[in-house]
């Protein structure tokens, strides 16, 4: 228990990622100064040079685990954190860089870097939960600002965040968006993807590309069969499941089934 009057300590950590999910916190322009008053920002390198050692009440973790050093660092952060919340597709599914998991890492490394021996990276990019216990996950590439605020508010009050677990398909129904697959024959991951982004892609006539990852119990095989009926070839089905949440088991499995 904290002595009364002391603010909860928030830390924000970055692993292998693009910074976009951390940026989502700085993009809460209307709430940022209130957040800074409600908590002590104890570690957040993207925002402040002042840091303090743990323990921390809440750690937000962005990014996947893709180097030996990161494996060590996430364990230390877990030890120092009462609650550990992973934010975004990299931290929760390994990110786009998890595509390397099914490639020859040495060949990939040599194809990008002239002196690959100096690149100290793992052959895989994996979610944080593969390495340490995670208390709560926020999906998305990037995460949704409203979901982030709900999560912070809930954790500060000691309740469970209310985050929808229905599919993107349901978001279309709720928003009254015409089905892009039915109306236009556009391949869409909406039936198997967790909602929460705000129905962004179908709203502009584009198929969902799965950045919130598979919803629980997703029937990816049935969707893949429908996509094939629409005329999608094996490569495009493989790459549709091989997006920003390619490492999530349901999508990784469907992608494997469509490898040439």
């Amino acid at each position: 228990m904290k002595p009364s009057g002391e603010k909860p300590r928030l830390a924000v950590w970055k692993f292998s990622s693009c910074d976009g999910c951390q940026l989502t916190l700085l993009d809460c322009e209307d709430e940022l100064l209130d957040i800074a008053e409600a908590v002590e920002i104890a570690y957040f390198l993207e925002a402040t040079r002042s840091t303090r050692a743990g323990p921390y009440d809440v750690s937000l973790v962005e990014g996947s685990i893709s180097t030996p050093h990161e494996v060590e660092r996430i364990r230390e952060i877990r030890r120092d954190s009462a609650l550990l919340v992973t934010i975004g597709a990299c931290a929760t599914a390994g990110g786009i860089q998890a595509l390397r998991n099914t490639l020859d890492h040495d060949a990939l490394r040599a194809s990008v870097y002239p002196s690959p021996q100096f690149i100290d990276a793992l052959a895989t990019s994996t979610p944080v939960a593969d390495h340490v216990a995670v208390d709560f996950e926020l999906r998305g590439c990037p995460i949704d600002k409203r979901q982030l605020l709900e999560t912070l508010a809930a954790l500060l009050k000691g309740r469970k965040p209310t985050i929808p677990d229905y599919s993107q398909c349901a978001e279309c129904k709720l928003a009254g968006t015409a089905c892009v697959m039915v109306a236009k024959g556009v391949p869409c991951l909406g039936p198997v993807t967790q909602g929460g982004c705000g129905n962004l892609c179908p709203k502009v006539g584009r198929g969902c590309y799965g950045c919130f990852g598979p919803k629980e119990g997703a029937n990816t095989a049935a969707l893949a069969a429908e996509l094939a009926k629409l005329g999608a070839d094996r490569r495009s089905i493989r790459d549709l499941f091989g997006g920003f949440t390619a490492g999530a088991p349901a999508f990784a499995e469907e992608r494997r089934r469509h490898e040439r």
Binding site: Q22, Q97, V112, S115, V204, R206
Partner: protein, 431 residues
């Protein structure tokens, strides 16, 4: 303190996007060794793109950086259109310039107000700044919010927009939605002028460096999405000629790939380069504001990049309002044409400087090879030289103050380390 041997280092650099560190060794007032290095893990984007459809390049490469996704989306789209021979009509090109203004605003204001300004006031962060000057922080947040809103209205969301594609946009936003932004854009310009005036009162460390400036230059406009590549030494080439004039060198002390000209000369990209090479493309009243704030064409003080960035914020608000007033939705929002095998190049002015893309595609549109050269990898060698200049100029400061001054010198570049990393060697020493 100049007779002693001192090592100044910071292990995890704050207030930059991504993670980096630097080390400078000083002997008798002279720098004998400096290293600015990156410990961002590599993510192999160029390798991951191989075999995927040309359509995937904008969305996949946007994940290189969550702060400047539009730079990657537009550079990749233009390179693919170049490879395919598709011509994007002016209304679609204008809509691209409009969303790009949103990215300049949010990225620049984040840096000038929240990340860089605290250095000039001896403050740890924008939270402390909000305690001493809440108005400045609130105005910055309001301006940044408008930049993000502009990206959301056109792109669907501000971090990794979804409405963009090779050829244009999935669906052009309505004229009503775009024009509803005009009052906020006008207010944003006014807020940004006030901020420039506040920044003009900062105490800028007195340092001048020799720079080779490189930026795009357009026939009539301040460069964002289009132009030829020009430099302060008279270079004037088309975008496709980038690899014939610039390359990345390997240097022995850090195993880092760093941008340089083919002659091995370091160069500078970003707001200061753009301003110095294109000041005559700014509206006269905005140039006058810059000069009044202490930023005149020819400026070689890297700390004044803060002013250049803020001047560009004013310009981006002005330009966005102009484009919004003239906007009618292109229908359809994109062009398409037949696929063909080919090679294409694309360069746009990311907030941090020119960002180069090159792709080779097969007859069916599959990507055969990808090359991306982000601004921070081009600037990396110049950042090191600035550190040397900063340490030699200010070596009388005590260790803590000198360390902070060095951090500030790196933050002059708003270094987007996530972007640069997949090109840079990690600083790993092996026995």
């Amino acid at each position: 303190m100049s007779d002693s041997t001192r090592t100044i280092s910071v292990e995890a650099l704050a207030r930059v996007e991504g993670e980096g560190r630097f080390k400078v060794r000083l002997e008798g007032g002279k720098v004998v060794r400096s290293e600015f290095s990156i410990f961002e893990p590599p993510r192999y984007f160029e390798g991951l793109l191989r075999g995927r459809s040309y359509q995937d390049a904008p969305d996949v490469t946007s994940r290189i950086c969550g702060i400047c996704p539009i730079a990657y989306i537009m550079g990749a789209s233009q390179a693919m259109e170049d490879a395919l021979g598709w011509q994007v009509p002016r209304p679609i090109a204008d809509l691209r310039r409009l969303i790009y203004c949103g990215e300049w605003i949010q990225s620049h204001v984040l840096h000038t107000h929240l990340l860089h300004a605290p250095d000039f006031l001896g403050l740890q962060d924008s939270i402390q700044l909000a305690q001493s000057n809440r108005g400045l922080v609130e105005n910055g947040l309001a301006a940044k919010k408008t930049g993000n809103l502009l990206m959301e209205v056109i792109g669907g969301r501000s971090v990794h927009p979804v409405n963009t594609r090779v050829g244009g946009f999935y669906r052009a936003p309505s004229a009503d939605d775009v024009q509803a932004l005009i009052p906020e854009l006008e207010r944003g310009e006014a807020l940004s002028v006030a901020a420039l005036e506040a920044f003009a009162g900062f105490d800028f460390p007195d340092l001048e460096m020799d720079y080779l400036f490189v930026a795009l230059r357009h026939e009539t406009d301040y460069p964002i999405t289009e132009g030829r590549i020009v430099s302060s030494s008279g270079l004037d080439i088309e975008v496709a000629a980038f690899p014939a004039h610039f390359e990345e060198h390997q240097v022995p002390h850090s195993n880092a790939l760093q941008g340089a000209t083919l002659d091995g000369e370091p160069y500078l990209v970003g707001p200061l380069a753009r301003f110095n090479l294109n000041a005559d493309r700014l509206p006269a009243d905005i140039l006058a504001l810059a000069e009044k704030a202490g930023l005149a064409p020819g400026c070689r003080n890297p700390f004044k990049s803060l002013l250049a960035r803020q001047v560009e914020v004013i310009y981006a608000f002005r330009e966005a309002a102009r484009l919004a007033r003239a906007y009618t939705p292109p229908e359809p929002g994109f062009v398409e044409g037949p696929l063909r095998a080919g090679t294409g190049h694309g360069i746009t002015e990311a907030p941090r400087g020119i960002c180069y893309h090159r792709y080779e595609i097969a007859e069916d549109g599959a990507i055969l090879a990808a090359t991306i050269v982000p601004p921070t990898s081009q600037n990396q060698r110049q950042i090191e030289l600035d550190l040397v200049g900063t340490v030699e100029r200010f070596h009388d400061l005590d260790d803590d103050a000198l360390q902070w001054r060095c951090e500030q010198a790196i933050r002059n570049y708003d270094p987007c380390i996530s972007c640069a990393t997949h090109f840079l060697k990690l600083d790993v020493e092996r026995a």
